[in-house]
């Protein structure tokens, strides 16, 4: 397996984490995302016409989009079915719902981080405000889950939905978005960081 990877990418970290959780080995192909913008080069656009990371290759399969890669890896390599509960339609629906939500976190929280860390030219105030709107929804949901004795997004056990929503929530501070005002989110982040195989990417400081 080969993962086209950027060390500072939270979307790549989603894939790196699931690989670790499932004890899978994978070659990392580093892409000069910054400052080289290699992901927009003609050569890379052949690999992913959207010019985005991550991209995974496994045998003849080439997949883009972190969430799609998580679905594939979990379905194929997690025999327990915990990470992607394919035999439980309701759970599957909830997982898909939060996978879509993860995309919105990327569009807001990650955008603010790209502005602050890599100097991207975008409306950072709007990105931060929109991220807060999402985090309020996430906070309410996680608090509700806690009342039901559940600590994960889609049910009693962690799924790829938690993986997909984790990095850009944990890295929100890099983009000037304070998540300390969301106690249930903070508890969920710490909970997540205690999963066996978890490791930080730069910008995260979770200690076992």
């Amino acid at each position: 397996m080969k993962l086209y990877d950027y060390v500072l990418s939270g979307n790549c970290h989603k894939v790196r984490l699931l690989l670790k959780f499932l004890d899978l080995t994978c070659d990392l192909e580093p892409v000069d995302f910054f400052p080289g913008r290699e992901h927009k080069s003609p050569v890379f656009l052949q690999i992913n016409p959207l010019g985005q990371l991550p991209v995974l290759e496994d045998g003849d399969l080439r997949l883009r989009d972190a969430q799609a890669i998580l679905v594939y890896l979990a379905h194929k390599y997690d025999a327990s079915g915990q990470w992607y509960p394919m035999n439980d339609p309701e759970a599957l629906g909830r997982v898909a719902q939060w996978l879509a939500f993860a995309e919105n976190i990327t569009a807001t929280s990650s955008a603010a981080r790209l502005h602050d860390v890599l100097g991207y030219n975008l409306d950072v105030d709007a990105a931060r405000a929109d991220a807060h709107t999402l985090f309020r929804v996430l906070e309410d949901h996680l608090a509700h889950q806690e009342f039901n004795g559940q600590h994960w997004l889609a049910g009693p056990l962690p799924t790829i939905a938690d993986i997909a929503c984790f990095p850009y929530t944990a890295l929100a501070g890099d983009g000037g978005i304070d998540t300390f005002i969301y106690p249930a989110i903070e508890r969920w982040l710490h909970h997540f960081s205690r999963l066996r195989g978890f490791y930080n990417m730069p910008g995260m400081n979770y200690f076992a």
């Binding site: 950027y6 500072l8 580093p30 000069d32 100097g119 501070g173 890099d174 730069p202 400081n205």
Partner: protein, 176 residues
């Protein structure tokens, strides 16, 4: 160096080797530069080219209040130095853009490998720096309790004071 084991765990330091040994700090009067020399630290992965843990020697050079150049033992060429430079461009009193360079001897890693290695380190530092309080550098000795390991930061603060630099610094009377 003291932060290596805790901020760059497994790369520039390990928690079992946290001690900062005595190093030398000198003021180069002719060129008005500060040098910290003879700095030695155990590093598991000193550079992308590293093949395992080694004692790395550093020289830290401050040619300007907003620039620093690090000379560090080159893992692949004994006797040579690898260089890392940071040029800080202040944009506000508590905000800046950091420009950097990395000059290393390394036959095995691609430029992209080196970029990833260094950006990983820089982003580990960023979260610590951005969360420091006060946000502007304290110059008054009463504000901090330095240890021997902080000798170079103390020299830096003295140097700024001696040169009358106040931009982006915190004076004791401004601390609530």
């Amino acid at each position: 160096m003291a932060h290596f084991p805790f901020v760059h765990t497994g790369i520039l330091g390990v928690e079992d080797h946290a001690e900062v040994q005595r190093y030398d700090v000198s003021m180069n009067v002719d060129q008005d530069e500060i040098w910290a020399t003879n700095c030695k630290f155990f590093q598991p992965m000193a550079a992308a080219a590293s093949k395992g843990g080694t004692i790395t020697e550093y020289k830290y050079r401050l040619p300007h209040p907003h620039s620093v150049i690090l000379y560090k033992t080159c893992p692949s060429r004994p006797g040579e130095w690898d260089l890392i430079g940071l040029f800080i461009q202040p944009t506000e009193k508590d905000a800046c853009i950091v420009h950097s360079f990395v000059l290393v001897f390394d036959k095995n890693n691609s430029d992209t490998d080196l970029l990833h290695f260094q950006q990983n380190i820089f982003l580990q530092d960023r979260i610590i720096l951005e969360n420091q309080i006060p946000r502007q550098l304290p110059l008054d000795t009463r504000i901090e309790i330095p240890t021997r390991a902080d000798a170079s930061s103390i020299a830096f603060r003295r140097w700024l004071k001696a040169n009358g630099v106040t931009w982006s610094t915190t004076q004791a009377e401004n601390l609530e």
